[in-house]
Amino acid sequence: MSKRKTKYSIERKKAQWGWIFVAPSLIVFAIFNFYPIFNAFYTSLFKKKLLSLKAPTFIGLHNYAYLLNSPDFWNSIRATVVFTIGTFIPLLIFSLLFAVLIMSRKRFQKFFQMAYYSPAVLSSVVAAAIWLIIFDPRGLANQWVNLMMNTPGIDHKWLANSIMVQLSTMLVYGWKYVGYFTIIFIVGLASIPKSIYEAARIDGGNQWKNFWYITLPLLKPTTILVSIMSMLQCLKTFSTQYLFTQGGAPLAPINVITMNVYHTAIRDHRIGRASAMSIILFIIMLFFTWVQFRSSRADEISY
């Protein structure tokens, strides 16, 4: 039944099929992603309390003005930024370091990759449960640090001191994801053709120079990818901080934006304000994702 189709109608048919294929996903997104975010933005323009049966009052951008003037919200921004920067920089450095060291080993590469990756496989609730016990004053963290620094009996207050508790959350997060980013770097390293190193060797380079002048620059797109990805992950962090505060840790030092949203909505019932907070977070993340898209497009490496 081969009808003679003109090129035009084949294209049209294919185009239709294109839409058909993407349609189901678009419907799901429309209902469960786009509608909620618009709804959240709409709600953020009102003063609304979760239990109230009365109609919410329209206050325009007042929620945003309140938040931008609220020391509590700025504390959340501070907590989130500190957490993000304090996590992604060591994450970047260590994952790059591990990737380079592992790849320069001739054996046991898979063992190390799996060992470093394994914490990412555990659920974040499990990780928090384990670390809560480790950070208990009588737990492993104190024991090991005291052993290594020869300071018996000192409580480093992993969950009590406001600076330490932030450090603790960064430590847990870094522990969980260092393997994941190590793998990304390994792939990035593997994609650098050996021929470049050969050329360098012929030109008389040594290992250190190779690394600094060849490897590192060629890894720039991967580095940027890792940075942005880890930053976005960190901006969204919730479970670790939530579970630590449930376990007794102080709220203020680690009151990241996501947790603030959760508490403002669920504990304080102020859903208008919570929505505004989450829209602000959304804009921050939009910004970073835009940066990522821009940079990964700009840095197309050609050998």
Binding site: A15, P24, N33, V126, G179, G188, K194, I271, S296, E300
Partner: protein
């Protein structure tokens, strides 16, 4: 080329002279850090075999005196003896498996559509889909909850599954993979009279196992781990998933660390087994993401 040179060098000079101090230090560093990274997981398993009182004794004994199975019994039994943990594990399995399946299916569909079909507005659609990745879940959790309850889906499998039927990362992954799929095969099939749907089913899907497996595993793991959404949508004991059970257990018996670790161990063993057997998909998943170039 250089590998061969190295091998020759080893043969000539002997293995030990190959390693200088620097190399040794690197090995030591790698091994020690690997131990640090593995320690908490090992701790979880060790502690799950110890009675709670022993866990926080200083100093910590890495090898338990005996295998205190009561922790596992207590963990599975639950604090009210209802053994609901078994049901919760089942729930997590069902939800994770179904979400994996739907995500793979819908992502493959959409990824295929975006990769191999040219239609007006294709780029816009792709951008929109990518934009959903930037929406933090907390921003939409309350409206999403209200939508879900309006549809009457709260406290049910449907409610746990439906918001996650498909996600942008999956579509991205599939699209990346399909872009490299040779067009000639598809055109040949069309000439033979195959419809688009049949092409998808019989050609694309069977030949995309690596990408499908990777996506399936990553999605499964993400759903297994999901805390925030079930926290909102689940209202009864029976519909809880594993993370909710752990949170509840933590709140009630905060001081029975042994049982707590047993619960955690039980929750982790399935996913760890999958990890060991299918590690290439986990490690590959990260690789696929990194190979994207815009």
């Amino acid at each position: 080329m250089s590998q061969k040179l190295q091998l020759n060098r080893i043969k000539k000079r002997g293995l030990f002279q190959q390693y200088n101090i620097f190399e040794l230090l690197v090995w030591v560093f790698l091994i020690i850090t690997a131990l640090f990274v593995l320690a908490p997981t090992i701790f979880m398993f060790t502690a799950s075999f110890m009675p709670a009182n022993d866990i926080l004794k200083m100093p910590f004994r890495w090898i338990p005196k005996s295998f205190y199975w009561q922790n596992f019994w207590q963990g599975i039994r639950g604090n009210n003896g209802s053994f609901i943990y078994v049901r919760n594990i089942l729930n997590s399995l069902i939800v994770a498996a179904v979400v994996s399946a739907t995500t793979v299916f819908f992502s493959a569909l959409a990824g295929f559509g975006l990769a191999k079909y040219y239609f007006k507005g294709r780029n816009m659609v792709f951008m929109f889909i990518m934009a959903t990745m930037m929406i933090p879940f907390e921003a939409i959790m309350i409206p999403l909850y209200l939508v879900t309850t309006k549809l009457g889906l709260q406290d049910s499998y449907a409610g746990l599954i439906v918001p996650f039927l498909v996600n942008a990362f999956g579509i991205f992954l599939m699209r990346q993979y399909f872009i490299t799929f040779p067009d000639e095969i598809l055109d040949a099939a069309r000439i033979d009279g195959a419809g688009e749907w049949m092409i998808f089913r019989t050609i694309i899907l069977p030949n995309s196992i690596p990408a499908i497996a990777t996506l399936a595993i990553l999605t499964f793991k993400a759903q297994w781990d999901n805390l925030l959404w079930p926290l909102l949508v689940v209202q009864s004991e029976e519909m809880k998933t594993i993370p909710l059970y752990i949170v509840k257990f933590m709140a009630e018996k905060h001081t029975d660390e042994g049982a707590m670790m047993a619960v955690a161990a039980i929750a982790s063993i399935p996913i760890l087994i999958v990890f060991f057997k299918l590690s290439k998909y986990f490690l590959g998943g990260a690789a696929i993401y990194s190979s994207r170039k815009g």
